[in-house]
Symmetry: C2
Subunit: 119 residues, 2 copies
């Protein structure tokens, strides 16, 4: 299984609407990718006492698919539409990462595809 | 629920032993944190055709706990030992991020703690 991580750097003055991101943008991605998107997760930086995020990213999402090909085939045809929605919640630029999921959930150990040592 | 993400930047010449990371380092963290660590995940950057990782990080792990306090109370007393183990798998410097888990798994929707819009 693979994981596409989209991370929004915490930059001074950057606009980010977390409510739109959760209630509109990710559901849009889900509706377009269909069954190829096994599930997604959303993280939001915890704030320190002084109101600064505890990390480099204000928010992240992770999209899980069976394979890189499954991701490309399902996301690609809708990439333009999905990218066009980004301006509705942020003026920042995201960082993308595509990873192999080596351990999906250590407590379940239901999925532990390939060893981290194999490439 | 909160998520502590530890991300290892992909830097030229950086040493990273993914096998040690998966079979020794994360199990060490798990054994020291005990039940406070609900579960962890491990990601490893997919490689592009030319052998470059598809992303800024060569590997990541994510530690899930009920709260920031639960994380601090369980990790803190073992921080020195755990950090001492890092040299066994990398000479790089990791980036840390602590996030609120807004959507843990969109397919299950079993957990959707607080709205991304609340802070």
């Amino acid at each position: 299984m693979i994981k596409v991580s989209v991370m929004y750097p915490n930059q001074p003055g950057v606009r980010f609407d977390p409510d739109y991101y959760r209630t509109k943008h990710l559901p849009l991605i889900k509706s377009r990718m269909g069954a190829a998107l096994k599930y997604y997760t959303i993280d939001k930086a915890l704030m320190a006492a002084e109101g600064k995020p505890l990390g480099a990213y204000v928010a992240m999402c992770h999209l899980f698919c069976d394979s890189l090909d499954a991701y490309k085939a399902s996301f690609g045809p809708h990439a333009q539409e999905i990218r066009g929605d980004i301006q509705n919640f942020t003026d920042g630029t995201s960082i993308h990462q595509i990873s192999e999921v080596v351990v999906e959930n250590s407590a379940k150990e239901a999925f532990s595809s390939e060893s981290l040592s194999r490439t």
